[in-house]
Amino acid sequence: MRRPRMEHALEIGRLRPVSTGARSAAKASDRGDDAAAIRAVAAGDQDAFSHLYERYVRMVHAILLGRVPRRDADDLVQDVFLIAYTRIGELRDAAAFAGWLAAIARNRATDYLRQSREQVELPDELPGGDAIEAETLAVLDAVRRLPEAYRETLLMRLVEGMSGNEIAERTGLTPASVRVNLHRGMKLLREKLGWVSHE
């Protein structure tokens, strides 16, 4: 199996890629847009930042929703993008932006949960809050108990309304992997909910 030869850079005992090799034409185009936006954001361009926000906000929200109470997920989305802005100089490869942003979202959720354990935990549903059906919360709870890859992909599809191709484009996964995640995730979710599978 031949792949593009990469340059090496030794960094604290770890070999890291300097270039990630060939990409599909479609992804290259999207990531070309991202690359230009990332450079502009690094220079403080608000419009470019808004562009990245619009492209990735649903992915970030889905990742957070899979980990933290829903009200907190809404607030933490803004945190994640501001953290990404302050650290955007660390990003050496624009093609890695989606995975890098997703990692920031997962880490922010972990930090948030760690901090919030020292406070009184609030139920997902509060008096005076917007009404959410109990069945909705039960389904969300079941999705949260799925393996990470299935959980995030299903939340992007079922909550955020993203298509499989959109999920692949935003996350950096191949469409085939997204299809597997959706199919297996849905199968597991049906089992957890006690719904009869249509397979």
Partner: protein, 333 residues
């Protein structure tokens, strides 16, 4: 039924998917504009290295001063409540107390605790966790994490601190890490300093700083990968570790190799001994593309899984020699 509707809403509607879409729609991202940017991006390039180094130095100083002040009685450690009221067996803990060998520390949804590991470090136990003190003394300290999450910060020669879980045993090789155990006994290790060796079922994984590794009660340690590795690679690696049949394993391995880069040399090194024999040459060649075999190490020896050849190639990664890990195993296992 086809997955077309699940894929993109086309084709014949799937009633289950439609119901889920309806139920979950209220949770969708609320419309909001991007946050306003601060005046200038913070220049983190220097701070990202200096900051953690200063924080680590401060933590070690605090740890040393704290452990010097509170030398433990033989066979027990100091345990302090960090939040709520953790329990040592049935006794509720407020402030500080002691935990003896054989006793179990239990935290609920609102409590956390901190253990002082003799004079070598600290372990913070998160909510909803059960941790038993197995042994302490004479350069050997052991915990059993039955479920939940702990964060360990250890400053001691390698091999002195061990945490067993239902799916693997984690041996500290001079480091800081977070270890989580699910209700079903599966685990997840993330290393934030130094490295950790995971072992079970005659499998071992050496997990360096910046990498993570899953553990499974049936298979033992999974294959480590760096946290910033390609998402597709990480997905395929998880599937590879979970798969029992050769066809699936081979297919997932192909994805791993397609997405692997020089930064994934640690992952590739582990895969050499885990893949099925027909797939081994592809893994060896992939690693050789990124990391030359040292003098004296041959492709044939690696393909034959010669331990000395594999260890010498590991040493070429520059993460620390494998020799003392082998010696440690001979003494400890």
């Amino acid at each position: 039924m086809s997955d077309d509707y699940l894929w993109d809403g086309s084709g014949a509607p799937d009633p289950d998917v439609q119901k889920l879409e309806r139920l979950l729609a209220p949770l969708r991202t609320p419309p909001a504009a991007a946050p306003r940017l601060p005046a200038r991006p913070v220049q983190w390039r220097t701070l990202r290295y200096l900051g953690p180094a200063l924080a680590a130095a401060a933590a070690v100083l605090l740890m040393v001063s704290a452990t010097l002040r509170t030398r433990p009685a033989a066979g027990s450690w100091t345990v302090a409540s960090v939040a709520g009221q953790p329990r040592v067996e049935s006794a509720r803990l407020t402030g500080t107390g002691r935990i003896a060998v054989g006793q179990t520390l239990i935290t609920d949804g609102g409590s956390q605790a901190r253990l002082t590991v003799a004079t070598i470090g600290q372990v913070t136990v998160d909510t909803n966790s059960r941790v038993r003190l197995v042994a302490t003394g004479d350069g050997h300290h052991a915990l059993a994490l039955e479920r939940g999450t702990l964060h360990a910060l250890i400053s001691a020669p390698p091999g002195q601190f061990v945490v067993s879980t239902p799916s693997a045993t984690a041996t500290d090789l001079g480091c800081a890490y977070t270890l989580h155990v699910d209700e079903d006994g599966a685990g997840y290790l993330t290393v934030t300093s130094g490295w950790v060796a995971l072992a079970a079922h005659e499998r071992e994984s050496l997990v360096p700083v910046g990498a993570s590794c899953r553990t499974d009660t049936k298979r033992g340690p999974g294959t480590p990968s760096y946290d910033d590795a390609d998402q597709e690679l990480k997905w395929a690696l998880d599937e590879f570790d979970r798969a029992d049949d050769a066809t699936t394993r081979s297919a997932r391995l192909k994805v791993v190799l397609e997405h692997a880069g020089p930064g994934d040399a640690v992952t590739l090194w582990h895969l050499i001994s885990r893949v099925d024999a027909p797939d081994r040459p592809a893994v060896v060649d992939a690693l050789a593309e990124f990391l030359a075999m040292p003098d004296g190490v041959t492709r044939d020896a690696v393909l034959a899984l010669d331990p000395a050849a594999l260890d010498r190639w590991w040493n070429a990664l520059g993460l620390g020699d494998a020799d003392w890990w082998r010696q440690l195993k001979l003494v400890s296992w």
